[in-house]
Symmetry: C2
DNA sequence: AAATCTGGAACTTTCGAAAATATTCCCGAG
DNA sequence: CTCGGGAATATTTTCGAAAGTTCCAGATTT
């Protein structure tokens, strides 16, 4: 079954690349608790890579703020907290909305195609999940996340700005960290909410209709609403709520 | 002579840290031509670090878009071009202006102090440079750049957003790459233009006067004008103008 | 002459161990 | 009992060499 994401797919990846991909995914999925140390020996045992590629991966993740390092004391998963989450969300609104605006203004047929195409793939997946009525398997959730990411990528893919794309991706990664732990719960799984899919359909419709302000406003609202859902769930937990 | 920047200064840096700092600085100063390969042996000879710390540094720089890597073919300095420059400038305007706005709205006495203090240090340096009337030494230019960076950092230092700060720094680095090569030329050295200092003084004045819109507008205008100066100089050169 | 092999040099990437640095734990002094 | 001191242990960081790729030039074939 062919993969969904737009990976570069060249068969010649270095081990460092692979290690980077796998560790990043595991952090995004919360396999390592935020704030916990990433010991090299443990990573070696887990993935089978040796020190060099692991170090390579960790250094890159450090620049992307998924990992922090302390001189001679190794690496840790970056902590999470509601203030950190809101910072990521509000900054993403700043970036994505501007990139979205530009795309709506200058996007051509190809862009519209990407938007509607990725929306369709998201919908298919989404409805399968809705029909299930409960938390899906890990693999299904992964696919849903991938397609959700692809859809948001498509929306801003005609911005013409490389930097906005890079930053958007980085912030998407951050927010995914907050979403993922709740995909197993009823109330927290946004992919189980009918309204969430409807909202995305409407954003796409407004986009191709070139109704810029409405589209952008709806996107921003969606980001904030997701934040509120997560926040209410986070407040129910001890460990994270008082994130130092 | 104590350093100007707000480095963490702890005496215990790893070699990887050091290598990262030095290579980054050399890229920003154009010591390596954009697009040129960064061979490990050459870097080892130049800095005296061995492969591991060098690799560490290069991987981090890759995440910050200062170098690109090709699997099993090593690292290169990322290319420059006018379109890349304008993307960095416009994205920086988006980020910095929002962060500036927030700082003006919520900044306290400490923030005002940082703004006026860093402005003063910049002015002193600037005027010494102006008095010289010609291109300064490398060391003087470095100090000027450091203080210029510190001033812009101070302006947005009360934004409350970690992400905006991170992105702003990254974009500042990019734009510095374009400025630096022209510090040795009469027409291109912005630090030799009286108006450039006056503008910065005015931005600071408007900021502490909480005249938000005017301050932000002037900042954006300044960024764009610098871009135009660089662009006109770049067009005079072959190699860079047709950046693929 | 154009295109395709092939061998070796130049580099990059990876490994495993040595060196350097932090952390833990135990013990004795106050 | 509490508080350092200091060896023993755990971990990170760095090194140099081995393994694996790419690149290039020259020979060989179409």
């Amino acid at each position: 079954m062919p993969s969904d994401n737009t990976a570069e797919s060249s068969s010649d990846q270095t081990l460092g690349q692979l290690a980077y991909d796998r560790i990043r995914l595991d952090i995004l999925k919360g396999q390592f608790r935020p704030g916990s140390p990433l010991r090299l020996q443990a990573l070696k045992d887990r993935y089978g890579f040796s020190f060099s590629p692991l170090r390579e991966a960790l250094n890159r993740l450090q620049s992307e703020q998924l990992v922090v390092s302390y001189a001679a004391r190794g690496f840790r998963v970056t902590k999470i907290s509601t203030t950190e989450m809101w910072d990521a969300i509000e900054t993403r609104i700043l970036i994505d909305c501007e990139a979205f605006r530009r795309s709506i203004r200058t996007g051509d047929d190809d862009w519209e195609g990407r938007v509607m195409g990725s929306l369709h793939k998201l919908s298919v997946c989404f409805e399968r999940n809705l029909k299930l009525g409960h938390a899906a398997t890990e693999e299904q959730t992964t696919q849903l996340e991938d397609r959700h990411r692809a859809f948001h990528g498509a929306l801003i893919s005609a911005s013409g700005s490389n930097w906005m794309t890079v930053f958007s991706t980085q912030l998407y990664n951050q927010t995914q960290r907050y979403r993922w732990p709740y995909f197993t719960t009823e109330g927290g799984n946004i992919f189980l909410k009918q309204s969430y899919l409807a909202e995305h359909k409407q954003i796409a419709a407004l986009a191709v209709a070139r109704r810029e302000d409405e589209a952008v406003a709806m996107m921003a609202k969606g980001f904030r609403r997701t934040g509120e859902i997560i926040e209410s769930l986070l407040n129910g937990e001890d460990e994270v709520a008082r994130g130092t």
